[in-house]
Symmetry: C2
Subunit: 391 residues, 2 copies
């Protein structure tokens, strides 16, 4: 089996030459007559330029094939091989990566597993984010959770920047919230997932994840790019961490925001995540508050779905965009809102209700009109505040 990578080179670059540099320089390298007795073995490790294709915009895409036996079936050795030293060499960008089906770590739950835990087989899932991000007590978190969980929310997550701080220790927050989750399940029969942010120094991260799960965490949030894909794989393969892992995209732009350098968003948030063992991935929606193209969003969606992960388009999601989300995703999507729930004019519970009201009346892909939206109530208030989202 081989690994294929598409590199994009800017207009004017000698794409064929650069591709050759990658195929050789990122694998066995060159050798002279002293190693002729090893030539056969060395040659088995060389990459190969498959094709170089000029693009309408003047750039070129070169596809390089790498032997799978050069790497260890994980994401870190893959990254070192396909872009390690070459990333400092100048002119190429990783546009796409195609991996063997069994490469890396599959999701343990994926969307289907998350639906099973929640007992919600079909409709889109509704997810919220604790706000404000920093500065609330464990009891503040529990109070917010009580409000939204009883309103019907499926999933809630910490803000990605909320770590394990002396002013708000993760374990205290988790225990306070876990009591609420139990209360909700006892009185309504519904399960709610709380993605607790897993942070901490490298040497204690695994222990901490296990301790959190032992203390009642039923899902984890991980800033995969701050900790490394290897950390996600480690958690996914740890039998003592048997809960869904939600990947946050923080730092993705450090790799992907430039059109000419780095590694593309579909690779960073799609392909690599899909082979790193996580179950759900958050990423910007193209009609959200971050500048993000529809092409990137859909490429990420397709890469995640190909491996059964849950898609969580995020940032600037509010009830007014629900028809568009349904048009792009159908029912298999997690509607994840921060302000779009927490800052609802009538409070956070109304914020949740507005999403369910939106789901009840939305026609996929058809923007809401006055007629669709009830004249009063949570959805109407949300629409008055946030409208239909950016074009």
């Amino acid at each position: 089996m081989t690994i294929e990578v598409d590199y994009r080179f800017p207009a004017g670059a000698d794409a064929a030459k650069e591709a050759k540099v990658i195929a050789v320089g990122q694998t066995a390298g060159s050798w002279d007559e002293r190693f002729s007795h090893r030539a056969e073995l060395l040659a088995q490790h060389l990459g190969r330029v498959v094709c170089v294709t000029p693009q309408p915009d003047g750039t070129s895409i070169a596809t390089v094939e790498f032997p799978e036996h050069n790497v260890e079936g994980d994401v870190p050795t893959l990254l070192t091989m396909i872009f390690g030293k070459y990333s400092m060499g100048g002119s190429g960008r990783v546009d796409a990566v195609r991996l063997p089906e069994d490469y890396g770590t599959p999701p343990k739950f994926g969307l289907a597993g998350i639906r099973r835990i929640l007992g919600v087989p079909e409709r889109p899932l509704v997810m919220a984010i604790f706000k404000p991000a920093l500065g609330l007590s464990a009891e503040d978190h529990a109070a917010i959770l009580r409000e939204v969980a009883f309103a019907g929310l499926d999933i809630i997550k910490d803000d990605e920047i909320l770590g394990d701080l002396p002013s708000a220790p993760t374990m205290e927050r988790l225990r306070a919230c876990r009591r609420v989750l139990d209360e909700v399940e006892k009185s309504t029969g519904r399960r709610v997932l709380y993605c607790t942010n897993l942070t901490g120094r490298g040497h204690e991260l695994s222990e901490k994840a296990r301790a959190m799960v032992a203390a009642g965490a039923n899902a984890l949030l991980l800033n995969v790019l701050s900790y490394g894909y290897g950390t996600a794989e480690a958690l996914a393969r740890d039998p003592q961490v048997g809960v869904p892992i939600f990947a946050h995209p923080a730092l993705a732009g450090a790799f992907a925001a430039s059109p000419d350098f780095g590694i593309s968003y579909p690779v960073v948030l799609g392909t690599l995540m899909a082979h790193a063992g996580v179950d759900a991935v958050l990423y910007p929606a193209h009609y959200g508050s971050l500048p993000f193209t529809a092409a990137n969003e859909f490429a990420i969606r397709d890469a995640l779905r190909a491996r059964g992960l849950a898609c969580v388009p995020s940032a600037g999601i509010h009830p007014g965009v629900v028809p568009r989300v349904l048009g792009d995703y159908g029912n298999d999507v997690v509607l994840n809102a921060g302000s779009g729930i927490m800052d609802h004019p009538d409070g956070a519970a109304a914020g949740v209700q507005a999403f369910f009201d939106a789901l009840a009346v939305a026609k996929p892909g058809v923007p809401f009109t006055q007629v669709d939206v009830p004249p009063t109530g949570p959805l109407r208030s949300a629409m008055l505040k946030w409208g239909l989202g950016k074009k």
Copy 2:
């Protein structure tokens, strides 16, 4: 104590506004009257824009100050805070980061510790890289090591892409090389460090590092950016991994190669490495084979030295550039050559000797002339092959 970050914004961006977005959006965020009872606590987590300074080239640099108590004293939570979500927001780049002295993890050995182990208190250290990168057997590695180690080499490292492959298991290579290291020490009294590449899936990386050290590894090579700074910190803090850690810069260009996006080389390879527990950092020399500016190289050098780490300018180092390296670094530098030793016309041992010959006659900062270089011998052969390096 506070953390200060300089963000560079392109000409035309509203730097003051963007800086404010970062100072608030990457910390507590905004809140309304419902959280007025927590206002004092929330405000303690806010960042602050220190200044916005237009630059001669039309860009602007904004300095934002973050409370140290927002993060956990490690690199991953720092990255999430200073650039996490904002990295996807568009227009800024992290140019410089200033951390409290006690932030993160100090190097356990640094240059002084490496010198102590080697028993080389003053002169520049000479380091080689195994070549070819992939496809050699453990015994091939041992044979190469024997040649260069008896020639006086101080340090050798695996190629960063050489993982733990069925065709060449790390432990076999390590054991074969360890026998040579012992042989050299027994017969010459000299110690040689072998930076064995640490690779593997996240959940077994710590165990593997311990097993490697138990099996005789006296230094480790880590692709810090492929595995995450947290992995480096974990290794540095592990009492069972008591050997110097050499950080390879693979993947650094994915963050830093763009002038407009991402995180600058001095931050990625200098500041963050210096606070992540590693002892030595490899990075491109500006007269080497990779496109790299002198300004970036010197900023990295200064960030590493401020914390006692060893500087290892690399890529395209050969005997002809020794006077320039000495001019830039003085004696406190590791001269690290791959081809520049292994591809010496008279063999790898002559490649090592050529470096020592160069050190014997070089005047710091003054390029070699015909007069300096003996008319025959390893240094002359090296000069005929590689010259004085690029201007």
